[in-house]
Amino acid sequence: MKSRIHLLFKLLLLCLLLGLTHTARAQGKPNPNAAPNEFVQQVADQVLTALKADSGVRAGNAARVNQLVDDLILPNIDFEKTTRLAAGRNWRQATPEQQAALVKAFRGTLARAYSGAFTRVDEATTIKVLPFRGDAEATDVVVKSQVTQRANTQPIGLDYRLEKTPQGWKIYDLNVENIWLIENYRNQFSQQISQSGIDGLIQALNQRAQQ
């Protein structure tokens, strides 16, 4: 009898917890202290909901795309880390001003990549975050997801690399179909730096923005 009540109590607690997480998710504000896969799902849901509601972003309106990247994506990304890792050993040779300018210029590249992806979003687009397979205690993790762009098409593999910071999880690298963003940009950066230095790299990134 006692164990039965105990079980009932446990079930009740479980329902309550599930209900709580459900309401937290419905509100749409990502919780960086949740499990990494839940956090990524929340970020993805929030961005997708915003995209589906905003035809200006989908049409590639630069101001709207920037707004959305600033409001919904960048707060969840450690973009300084992304840039730092992409710059590799060259990062230390840069002055703090150059570092800041590089982060800003690379952010523009990221926004352009996103704006291209956003134009292909429609009502049928879904992002399914796969169950987290890594170590629950790890502070550097990979979360896998599958993006289905349109009805009747194959999903594309999109993985996120996250780091646990004092403020909770932050995304710092992306993998599209087995290609890591930072890894691919490392060579782009070093190639440009060897040709024209760090200022040349900043200039090249900014130039691409005007094209």
Binding site: R112, A113, Q154, N178, F189, S190, Q191, Q192, S194
Partner: protein, 265 residues
């Protein structure tokens, strides 16, 4: 003796002239040498050639196709081509010892060809059985062949020595294999031409993003290609190793016995 010396000299001069010409074509100054890309100078020249051809012919054709034909129909046609390629993927999974993947691919092909109306609807993906792409380059990699240097082939594009050879086999099997089913030459060639435009259209999104974000498109595409191919081969090898293969000491080696290699008891 003398003539041999001259042939050698002439050959060297010809090589040097070709190299100068090729490197002259490359507009981007090459960056730090990549050990996987020793042929960078000539690769860049072919890359520029392909790019010019793409801008003049393939990309506009693909854009026109995308403009005229509605998205659901384009998706359907893309799925039909992908579905037709599944037979060859199945065969490659089998060659690589990936029995589970092979079975899944074959099941997908049967299901999509029938319930999916000849592959138009990817009904198998909706039931959770996603496409497992495979090709002969991956098979050669699983068999232990190194990728060799990176090469940019005219029209075909990014490849390595191994994957380029694999690509030739892939194209031969798919084009000639299916082509032999279509007897009318005009119809067959029209379908080949259409397939090229259709494939280019499916890549428009990717190439637009690369145009917008890469600092040096040549090395961006090269690095991405090499990473992706390596991941495909590594993944295929891991997949093949997933199931342990057991030596069954209880069973009589039937083949050997039939051939008369082992004495019958």
């Amino acid at each position: 003796m003398r003539s041999r010396f001259f042939t050698q000299q002439f050959g060297l001069a010809l090589c040097a002239a070709a190299l100068v010409m090729l490197s002259g074509c490359a507009t981007h100054p090459p960056g730090p040498a990549n050990p996987a890309d020793p042929l960078e100078a000539s690769n860049r020249a072919v890359f520029e050639f392909n790019d010019g051809l793409d801008r003049a012919v393939f990309k506009p054709a693909a854009q026109a196709y995308a403009f005229v034909v509605p998205q659901p129909i384009r998706t359907c046609i893309n799925n039909i081509f992908l579905n037709a390629g599944e037979v060859w993927s199945w065969f490659n999974s089998t060659l690589q010892g990936r029995q589970v993947d092979a079975l899944n691919t074959f099941g997908r092909f049967l299901f999509n060809s029938t319930m999916g109306l000849g592959g138009c609807l990817d009904v198998a993906s909706q039931t959770g059985a996603e496409r497992i792409p495979n090709d002969f380059g991956v098979t050669l990699g699983v068999w232990g062949l190194d990728s060799g240097p990176y090469v940019v082939l005219p029209i075909i594009g990014s490849a390595t020595l191994r994957d380029g050879a694999g690509r030739v086999v892939d194209l031969y099997v798919n084009q000639v294999g299916y082509g032999s089913l279509i007897h009318n030459v005009d119809v067959r060639n029209s379908i080949y031409g259409f397939e090229v435009i259709e494939r280019r259209e499916a890549l428009l999104g990717v190439t637009n993003t690369i145009d917008r974000t890469a600092l040096d498109r040549y090395s961006f595409i090269r690095d991405a290609y090499l990473k992706r191919r390596k991941a495909q081969v590594d993944g295929a090898m891991a997949e093949a190793e997933k199931l342990p293969s057991y030596e069954d000491f209880g069973a009589e080696p039937a083949d050997a016995q039939a051939l008369g290699l082992t004495p019958k008891k």
